[in-house]
């Protein structure tokens, strides 16, 4: 965009830098000069002194200095600030002119060169006549200078040169053209900078000196002007603190000026300039709050200074610019490191600027609506002789006139007209949109999403006014969802209304339909008459006709649009639009609900589709189809207008395709699920409702899943929270809110009509062939086929159980490890109605504990559902938990032949092994036989035949056996000697004949065998008779390998008498009988008592 009247001048916005001109440099042809110039101006970084350099010829004409005024008494200023002044001091009048001259100290033709240099200096001085501009000379030398004081010739010649050029020693510099050029240049420019500062200091003093001549009545403008100049020079001097102080004074002075309609623009312009400078310096001084405070003050002071009512748009334009400029300053400061916050960021200023730009547009629209016949005045009153104004903010047709009375009202009128006509050509929308988009960028940065959306709406609306409907629609469409998701229906409706206009004017069918759908819906806050109009238009569009234009549209745009619509019609053939509703709130609501969360495969799946229209008039739809995750069902769930009496419809009345506003319509659908889908989920993936027909235009509303649009989840939540009692409705009607979407259902297998019984006698006994009788009886009305039985250990239990459980159908043989824990799919044939079959299963459990057994019966049956023959697979299962217990406990003990308990047995001495079998089974057990298998280390004393053959044991009864054994001497065996195994063959008493006998092997305990040296065996008769002799036999046996001395003493008891031959000897038995026992020999002693 080219700069407009309202843009701030460049010279105001730049950072003022000391202006220094360099003369005598031939930067085009002289390489050395070029290098010097480059060192001055190339890559100037921030650490270099702020000087703006310019190369000028030595005889350059500088602006003429006006003769000094001796008295201000008769001087009346014509304006505040001349338009050229700032530029003059920035770019035209230097603070210092530097004369470059190539001259070495040992120059042979010194005199000539010296005078040439002096001439050059003189020429420069001439053209600067009257100004305080400093002059300096730089000698470009080929040789490196000697340290100061050593070169006598140099100091002499330098003094002479200064003298010739009338220069002070401080203004003569030497620039050796050597390797360290940049270093020299930096030193040079620092020196220049000092000179420049001195210059600006004197300038400030000079301007200040005028002050005393001024008086407050006639020189009010000069107060401002001088103050501004002092501040500006201070800035050039880089004295920003003083500059700020002076600008503040100037700002106050501006507002002290007598304001009138004729000069208000000038005052505002200058106030704007000074305000800009103040804000800029405040930001520069890192006092942003001061800047903001100043700006607020500025706006408050100027807001009401509208000026001429006919040109009030100028005020708006100016205000807009003030905000924009401040926004720019703020933004610039942020880029330099300032941090802004959410509530104080440049966005607000751009936004306000945009508002004023909008106001400007409004004012311009009302003030500049001249007839087309009114021509732009000729001659142009806005033209000036120079092409620019003399003073900032003045009217071109009355420059320099300070009188508040309009000397020439006619001229004024023409001038105003010219401005008004010019304003008409301003691209207001463009300005507004630029400002808004600036603001959008800022608000995006400062976490203001809603503000951003709002500004985008405004941008969209501005694009609409600017007739750029595509862009408008794009923006509006983008932000709509924000308002929709937060439920700000009023705002959404307003945006939609604009969007509808845009889509109408562009004849965008799909958009037009979409916006209409939503504007008719429940989220729209439009009045009924508006809705009614939109619905009529929508119906027209669906019937392939043109809609009526939207209200308040531009007449010309409407004409174009009507043509576009007409074209659309001629092109029409099959216009089908599918619109997904999940992102907006259309006027038809849909909810799908399966009647149950699951259906048996033999009953038809039933569900309802509920529809409700929110539009003002009844609307007819042409087709409704429901799609499922299994697409095979889609064909059963279609309602079409053309289709004849449809049995899936609940009440096939005439109005079935017609939605009455506010009434909930229920449509019932039924279909038979496929048998493959048993165990699967049937899901409604989408519901499609077609409005219009394919001959005209057709809109398909597509609900994902079981219905619901952008607003329904919140509504459902709200309805769930509500405890409002709903008024009672007639039976066939329902409350919309009370319908809860159920978009999926499970298909489960048919309920089996058979009975499965298990007969058995728990608990099971370890290792027995436990009999489980399964009885299956059919209660079906028809024959069932393919009955299969799966039985055994229920999967999913402890893995060890699987190893220790075996199932078989054949009870006659014992099953071993190779038998499975679960028998699957045992075919058992077909069953007629009422028929029953029995199957015996044998389970062998190797360990005690409880187990779960599963009996699962499956079969096929033919069923007729909804006049369709289907084959259903049914199954029934039974689970039973069976405890396994030990059938009996076996206790074993060792006793002596006298039935005395033995801790250990003695080698070669017979002992008894007693077994005790205690039945733990609740059922009677038959011990078929028992067997003692002796270890090789044991020998039997007599026969080992079983003593418990065919003994029946009831619960708690026990069967004992006794075996006489002997253990030959084996020496000392650690841990005892193995005894052998005790094997019991048993079965349940109740078990059938053919059930095999179970052999339970019990390992007998080890026994410790001890060798003894002497064994005494007493042989006593079992009884004696009184007065009869009782022969007593003692058998002594030496078990050792050595001869043993044995002493035997017999102490008779008082109850007996001795008799017989041995008596004497026996009597002398007080004396010991000494005898020798030979090894391994027994000796028999006999006494008669």
């Amino acid at each position: 965009m080219s700069p407009t009247q309202w843009d701030l001048p460049v010279e105001l916005c730049c950072r003022p830098m000391a202006f220094v001109t360099l003369t005598g440099l031939d930067v085009v042809y002289n390489a050395v000069h070029r290098a010097v110039w480059d060192a001055f101006c190339a890559n100037r970084r921030a650490d270099r002194v702020p000087i703006s350099f310019k190369v000028l010829p030595g005889d350059h004409e500088y602006p003429k200095c006006r003769p000094k005024r001796t008295s201000y008494e008769w001087y009346i200023p014509k304006g505040i600030l001349k338009t050229g002044w700032m530029n003059k001091h920035l770019n035209l009048v230097p603070a210092l002119v530097v004369v470059f001259y190539e001259l070495d100290w040992d120059e042979p033709q010194w005199k000539e060169k010296q005078s040439e240099c002096a001439t050059r200096v003189e020429i420069v001085r001439q053209s600067l006549q009257g100004r305080n501009t400093k002059v300096a000379v730089v000698l470009i030398q080929k040789k490196t200078p000697l340290p100061p004081g050593e070169d006598v010739i140099a100091s002499e010649r330098a003094a002479a040169l200064c003298n010739a050029c009338e220069l002070s020693g401080k203004s003569l510099f030497v620039l050796p053209h050597t390797d360290h050029l940049v270093g020299y240049i930096i030193r040079l420019e620092n020196a220049f900078y000092e000179h420049a500062q001195t210059y600006y200091y004197t300038e400030i003093r000079r301007v200040k000196s005028h002050k005393e001549f001024l008086n407050k009545t006639t020189h009010q403008l000069l107060f401002v002007r001088h103050q501004f100049k002092i501040a500006f020079f201070s800035e050039l001097k880089q004295d920003t603190q003083n500059a700020l102080k002076n600008y503040r004074t100037a700002y106050n002075l501006v507002h002290e000026l007598r304001a009138h309609e004729t000069n208000i623009l000038e005052i505002k312009t200058m106030a704007g300039f000074i305000n800009y400078k103040i804000c800029r310096l405040c930001f520069q001084h890192n006092t942003p709050l001061d800047a903001i405070a100043q700006f607020r003050k500025h706006i408050d002071l100027c807001k009401k200074k509208i000026g001429s009512a006919e040109l009030s748009f100028e005020h708006a334009a100016w205000m807009s610019k003030q905000f924009q400029a401040f926004g720019d300053l703020f933004d610039e400061a942020i880029k330099l490191g300032l941090t802004a916050i959410q509530t104080q960021n440049p966005g607000f200023y751009y936004q306000q600027a945009a508002y004023y730009a909008q106001e400007r547009k409004q004012l311009a629209k009302s003030l500049c609506n001249h007839e087309a016949s009114i021509m732009y005045p000729n001659p142009d009153p806005l033209e000036t002789q120079t092409g620019v104004l003399d003073f900032y903010g003045q009217r071109s047709w009355r420059q320099g006139i300070l009188s508040f009375d309009l000397s020439d009202p006619e001229k004024e009128k023409v001038g105003v007209l010219a401005i008004q006509l010019k304003e008409r050509n301003v691209a207001h929308s463009e300005i507004i949109i630029t400002l808004l988009s600036n603001a959008v960028a800022q608000f995006k940065k400062y976490k203001c999403p809603r503000m951003k959306s709002h500004l985008m709406v405004q941008m969209g609306e501005e694009y609409y006014y600017a007739k750029d409907y595509t862009k408008a629609l794009k923006l509006l469409d983008y932000v709509m969802c924000d308002y929709r998701s937060e439920g700000w229906w009023t705002l959404l409706t307003s945006i939609l209304t604009t969007a509808l206009k845009c889509s109408y004017l562009m004849a965008q069918l799909k958009d037009y339909i979409t916006y209409s759908l939503e504007l008719l819906g429940r989220a729209s806050t439009l009045k009924d008459d508006q809705k009614s109009r939109i619905e009529k238009n929508l119906i027209n569009v669906l019937m392939n006709e043109s809609p009526d234009p939207e209200p308040d549209c531009d007449i010309f745009a409407v004409k174009t649009a009507q043509k576009l619509w007409a074209d659309r019609i001629s092109l029409a053939g099959s216009n089908i639009f599918t619109i997904g509703v999940q992102d907006f709130v259309p006027f038809v609501q849909c909810k799908a609900k399966f009647h149950a969360p699951s259906f048996h495969v033999d009953v038809p799946v039933e569900f309802d589709i509920y529809l409700k229209a929110d539009c003002p008039h009844p609307i007819r739809f042409s087709k409704l189809c429901v799609s499922f995750n299994n697409q095979e069902y889609n064909q059963f769930c279609v309602i079409e207008e053309a289709s004849k009496a449809n049995e899936v419809l609940e009440n096939p009345t005439q109005g079935k395709m017609c939605l009455v506003p506010g009434k909930t319509r229920k449509l019932l659908f039924k279909f038979v699920a496929k048998t493959e889908d048993v165990g699967k989920k049937i899901e409604i993936t989408s519901v499609d409702l077609a409005l219009g027909n394919e001959t005209g235009r057709c809109v398909v509303l597509n609900w994902q899943g079981g219905g619901g649009d952008a607003a329904s989840s919140q509504e459902a939540l709200q309805a769930a929270r509500s405890f409002k009692r709903r008024p009672k409705l007639p039976d066939n009607e329902v409350h919309w809110d009370s319908i809860i979407i159920q978009a999926s259902t499970m298909i489960i297998s048919r309920v089996p009509n058979i009975s499965v019984h298990l007969r058995h006698e728990p608990p099971a006994l370890t290792n027995e062939m436990y009999c489980l009788v399964v009885t299956v009886q059919s209660h079906e009305k028809t024959q069932i086929r393919d009955v299969k039985l799966t039985a055994g250990l229920k999967p999913g239990q402890d893995a060890n159980l699987t190893q220790k459980t075996h199932v078989t159908l054949h009870g006659t043989e014992l099953c071993d490890e190779s038998y499975p824990a679960l028998l699957t799919d045992i075919p058992v044939g077909d069953l007629h109605p009422g028929e029953q079959l029995e199957k015996m299963l044998y389970v062998r459990c190797g360990t005690v504990g409880s187990r779960m057994f599963l009996v699962y019966v499956s079969y096929l049956i033919n069923i007729t559902a909804e006049e369709k023959e289907i084959v259903c697979k049914c199954h029934k299962d039974e689970t039973v938990t069976i405890e396994t217990v030990f059938p009996f406990d076996v206790a074993v003990k060792f006793v002596s032949t006298k039935f005395e308990h033995l801790e250990r047995v003695y080698a070669d001495i017979p002992f008894l092994l007693m077994t005790d079998l205690l039945s733990a089974s609740p059922w009677a057990l038959t011990v078929v036989s028992s067997e003692l298998q002796l270890a090789p280390s044991m020998t039997t004393v007599d026969q080992l035949e079983s003593q418990v053959d065919n003994v029946v044991l009831q619960t708690g009864e026990s069967a004992s056996e006794c075996f006489c054994l002997r253990c030959p001497s084996l020496g000392n065996v650690e841990g005892g000697v193995a005894t052998g195994h005790y094997i019991i063959s048993w079965k349940r008493t109740s078990a059938m004949e053919n059930i095999p006998v179970i052999r339970t092997v019990i390992t007998l305990p080890h026994v410790i065998v001890e060798n003894i040296p002497l064994h005494v065996n007493a042989d006593l008769p079992s009884f004696g008779r009184v007065r009869e002799s009782l022969p007593v036999k003692y058998h002594l046996q030496n078990k050792t390998d050595f001869v043993q001395d044995v002493e035997i003493s017999v102490e008779p008891s008082d109850a007996f008498m001795f008799s017989g031959l041995k008596q004497v000897q026996a009597i002398s038995c007080g004396v010991y009988v000494d005898t020798k026992l030979r090894p391994r020999d027994g000796e028999l002693y006999l006494w008669f008592l």
């Binding site: 959410q342 607000f348 203001c448 809603r450 709002h454 937060e486 009023t490 705002l491 939540l717």
Partner: protein
């Protein structure tokens, strides 16, 4: 006097919004809506503060050229937004605070009304909001302890069970 008053639900949709003058209603709607940016930010900033120390009054949300927008948030995250004319210098912070407190009381009254379903939009001039007299809705009625006072439940005795509404 505020030029616009709004009650915003926890989920940020408007429960009640009313402005005077009514002709530029939309502008105020936008103003209230955009102010939620600042409210959200302020709420998230004070999220860590202890509940009992939390200040409900959020202060000035943002100034525009012509209006000042103030905010207030209840403990249940219902927001109140009030727009005041910038030129109205009579309304200082204290006045705004007390206006918010009154608004909060009125809102509490609405919530106490058994016929109001929390989360429903409060219709201007409807039966729930800022109405001076007990309202007959259906077979039962709400009872206020005094005209203009809050709705209250009637108890048979001061400590007795709640018997009726």
């Amino acid at each position: 006097m505020a030029v616009c008053i709004a009650v915003i639900a926890k989920e940020n949709y408007p429960l009640y919004i009313r402005s005077t003058p009514t002709e530029n209603e939309l502008k105020f709607h936008y103003m209230v809506h955009t102010s939620l940016d600042v409210v959200d930010e302020k709420i998230s900033a004070m999220g860590k503060a202890l509940v009992d120390q939390r200040e409900l009054y959020l202060g000035l949300l943002y100034p525009t050229e012509d209006y000042k927008v103030y905010g207030y948030v209840t403990n249940s995250k219902v927001k109140f937004v009030m727009v005041v004319d910038s030129s109205n210098t009579a309304l200082r912070d204290n006045e705004i605070r007390s206006m918010f407190r009154k608004l909060h009381n009125s809102y509490t009254d609405v919530m106490c009304n058994p016929f109001y379903n929390p989360g429903d939009r409060i219709h201007p001039g409807g039966p729930y909001f800022l109405c001076p007299y007990p309202v007959q809705v259906g077979p039962t009625s709400c009872v206020r302890s005094s005209p203009g006072g809050p709705y209250s439940c009637v108890r048979s005795s001061p400590a007795g069970p709640l018997i009726t509404w």
